[in-house]
């Protein structure tokens, strides 16, 4: 199937380099008519791009990265003639990490700018406030940077670029369990936020279903600075795996104290192991040696169109490596363009249908689509398994070895 897609893309006569980077789609019900140019498409296609560029310290660099990725995609799409003579015109709004701003701008985009679709939203709360408006008015949305649950549940016009993080564990953890032959696990999680406690619950259920017995469960809160009591209890339980889901800011603290504790269990972490808070902290990254995690994307990933994306991004940005948010923005806009091309129409409901049929999309996050009938609106990529080795994140496979 994947190979066939690429062949079709090649047959469409696109430059092969571009094809790998930009992705394409195969759909069974909508006839693909890209080759015969986009006569049904208007000269400019307005797409709303509401993102949180400012407003809260937590989103520093998030919205701006996503916007850079979106612009990067728009430039590629427009200059390559991907949509024939039609050009995408992104209508950008900074929703300032504010729910009311997100709602107002969404109304404006739909009723005054008459956008055909929306590629946007950086924060789950803003989206949850504004998304239902788009759903009600029947405007398809590709949500860019939401990691929380409950996004696609808003309705059938809602698609997400970033998967629900519990899906990452469903992808990686079974592989980790198999490779380590683990039979017991201890859990350490932050009990005072829904995100981390939800991740703990999902992971524990998953691991127990794989036959991994729970031998210890310890919690910390945002106020916890010293974890000796928890670590001693975990050490006494002597688990094969130590599954950690705590706030990113507390991960270095966990790692450093873990390093002193004498616990030898295999560390199963989360995306925070790849974040600057950990990778930039010599003591923490040293203590994280051999730690495993699954992440949606790493710059070094070789999946799908990522290598090409990275090299093109570097060429366009003075050799700078793209970050995760750049990748998300890029894929989200390319996916929307692909749906428009496949629909050969700016009719919102036809774009929606085309989105739900995208498969074999070769993007920065891998070769994937949104066509899983069991999880409508959700991307089908699984993630990238990584291991911390000598202060760096390296791709992990079941044959990777690591010494502490």
């Amino acid at each position: 199937m994947r190979f066939r897609t690429i062949k079709i893309v090649t047959a469409l006569g696109l430059v092969s380099v571009l094809a790998a980077a930009c992705g394409s789609s195969k759909s069974s019900s909508t006839p693909t008519s890209a080759g015969s140019s986009s006569s049904a498409l208007p000269a400019t296609i307005k797409i709303g791009v509401p993102l949180d560029l400012t407003g809260s310290s937590e989103i520093t660099g998030v919205g701006t990265g996503e916007w850079a990725g979106v612009q990067f995609a728009v430039n590629q799409i427009n200059s390559s003639g991907f949509l024939g003579t039609s050009k995408i015109d992104p209508v950008m709004f900074d929703t300032q990490a504010s729910k009311t701003e997100a709602v107002q701008r969404t109304v404006e985009l739909i009723s005054s700018d008459h956008v055909s679709a929306i590629v946007g939203y950086s924060l789950t709360p803003s989206f949850l406030a504004a998304g239902p408006i788009a759903q009600k008015d029947g405007i398809p949305v590709m949500a860019v940077g939401l990691s929380g649950a409950g996004v696609t549940e808003v309705g059938n016009y809602i698609f997400r670029e970033l998967l629900d993080y519990t899906k990452l564990y469903a992808f990686g953890d079974p592989q980790f369990v198999k490779a380590t032959h683990a039979t017991t696990a201890a859990y350490l999680y932050g009990s005072d936020t829904v995100t981390t406690s939800g991740q703990y619950a999902a992971r524990r259920k998953l691991l127990e279903s794989l036959g991994v017995k729970t031998v210890a469960v310890e919690t910390i809160t945002a106020a916890t600075t010293d974890m000796q009591a928890q670590l001693t209890a975990i050490k006494d339980a002597n688990p094969d795996l130590l599954v950690v889901n705590v706030d990113t800011g507390q991960v270095p603290s966990v790692l450093v104290q873990l390093g002193e504790s004498g616990i030898t269990a295999q560390y199963l972490g989360d995306t925070s192991l790849g974040s600057a808070v950990v990778t930039g902290n010599p003591a923490a990254i040293k203590a994280a040696q051999c730690g495993l995690f699954t992440t949606p994307w790493v710059p070094t990933s070789t999946a799908g169109g990522n290598p090409l994306f990275v090299s093109q991004w570097k060429a366009a940005n003075n050799g700078q490596t793209p970050d995760f948010f750049d990748a998300l923005g890029r894929d989200a806009m390319w996916a929307m363009a692909t749906a428009i091309k496949n629909a050969n129409s700016v009719n919102p409901s036809q774009i929606r249908d085309a989105l739900s049929q995208i498969s074999g999309f070769s993007g920065a996050l891998g070769l994937y689509g949104w066509n899983n009938p069991a999880a409508p609106g959700q991307p089908t990529y699984g993630g990238v398994n990584e291991q911390v080795q000598n202060g760096q994140d390296v791709p992990w496979t079941s044959s990777t070895t690591c010494t502490k």
């Binding site: 919690t219 945002a222 106020a223 010293d226 009591a229 209890a233 104290q257 808070v277 930039g280």
Partner: protein, 291 residues
């Protein structure tokens, strides 16, 4: 079990250190200083910047302590002195400390761009030390030793030295102390400086324990400090020590036997319980006899 008791004592010792600094300012100046939270942060940042500039760790720690001490004295000599001289109420003084907290906090936030910074711990002790059947991370052992040393030195200083007696006299009545030849403003400054140094020490150990530092790290520690002195008795050195140890042990045992989720709730329940039985805390002294 024994190991967990050792954990509790080690945790409690750092709590005591936090309590001592606050109890000192409270005892002498009679004001709950919310800016203390930022003295913790500024002290740790002082050390961080010194380490980044290749100052040996021991000196970097001393620099951090001096930074926090000087900031604390500066705040006291400007804002607080000004308000005291105008005869402002205690409540207004507390509000002023909150204002100072925000100013100091935003400076620290700006310097760190709201990010969690890496606190280099290469120069701090690492590994762990075996004590009988138990083991304790070296860093915690060091913080335990330093906390105990600080308690002893502070206790000796307050009770056995001329300057310490003068501090207790100023705490009791600054006008009387003045009549006896004590420069009460200098004593205020000294107490505030020492308190700032202790704040820094607590902040540095906390940062080293997690190898991270954020401008808001002091907030949680301030809550702990207040809990310690409320439990131990406001203004009492002995109370701060015992209160800190009690708090550390209770938190560890709760985590162990109940759940980490309840560790804070049970801690505060305990404090409320103690206050019902002993409104002045475990070692509380009456209003007229603090420090």
């Amino acid at each position: 079990m024994l190991q967990q008791t050792v954990n509790g004592i080690a945790l409690g010792a750092t709590y005591s250190l936090l309590g001592l600094g606050v109890t000192l300012i409270w005892g002498v100046l009679r004001v709950l200083n919310f800016a203390y939270s930022q003295f913790i942060v500024w002290g740790a940042f002082g050390t961080l910047i010194a380490i980044e500039n290749h100052v040996p760790t021991v000196f970097a720690v001393l620099i951090g302590m001096a930074v926090a001490g000087v900031v604390a004295v500066f705040v006291d000599m400007t804002v607080m002195q000004f308000m005291r001289r105008r005869g402002t109420s205690e409540f207004a003084l507390v509000v002023a400390t909150i204002g100072v907290y925000y100013i100091l906090s935003s400076v620290a936030q700006d310097r760190s761009k709201s990010q969690i910074e890496t606190f280099p711990i290469g120069g701090f002790p690492h590994g762990s030390v075996d004590i009988g059947s138990t083991s304790l991370p070296s860093l915690q052992l060091l913080s335990l030793v330093i906390s105990v040393a600080v308690m002893i030195v502070l206790g000796y200083w307050l009770n056995r030295t001329r300057l310490g007696r003068a501090t207790r006299t100023v705490a009791y009545s600054a006008p009387t102390a003045e009549l006896l030849g004590v420069n009460s403003r200098a004593i205020f400054a000294l107490a505030v400086f020492v308190s700032g140094c202790l704040a820094a020490l607590a902040g540095i150990f906390n940062a080293a324990d997690s190898s991270t530092l954020s401008y808001s790290d002091g907030d949680q520690l301030l809550v702990v400090a207040f809990a310690v002195i409320v439990l131990g008795g406001m203004g009492s050195v002995k109370g701060a020590v015992i209160g800190g140890l009690a708090l550390g042990l209770v938190q560890v045992y709760t985590t162990l036997y109940v759940s980490g989720v309840f560790s804070n709730a049970i801690t505060y329940l305990l404090i409320v319980g103690v206050l019902i039985v002993r409104p002045n805390g475990l070692f509380g002294v009456r209003e007229e006899a603090r420090v």
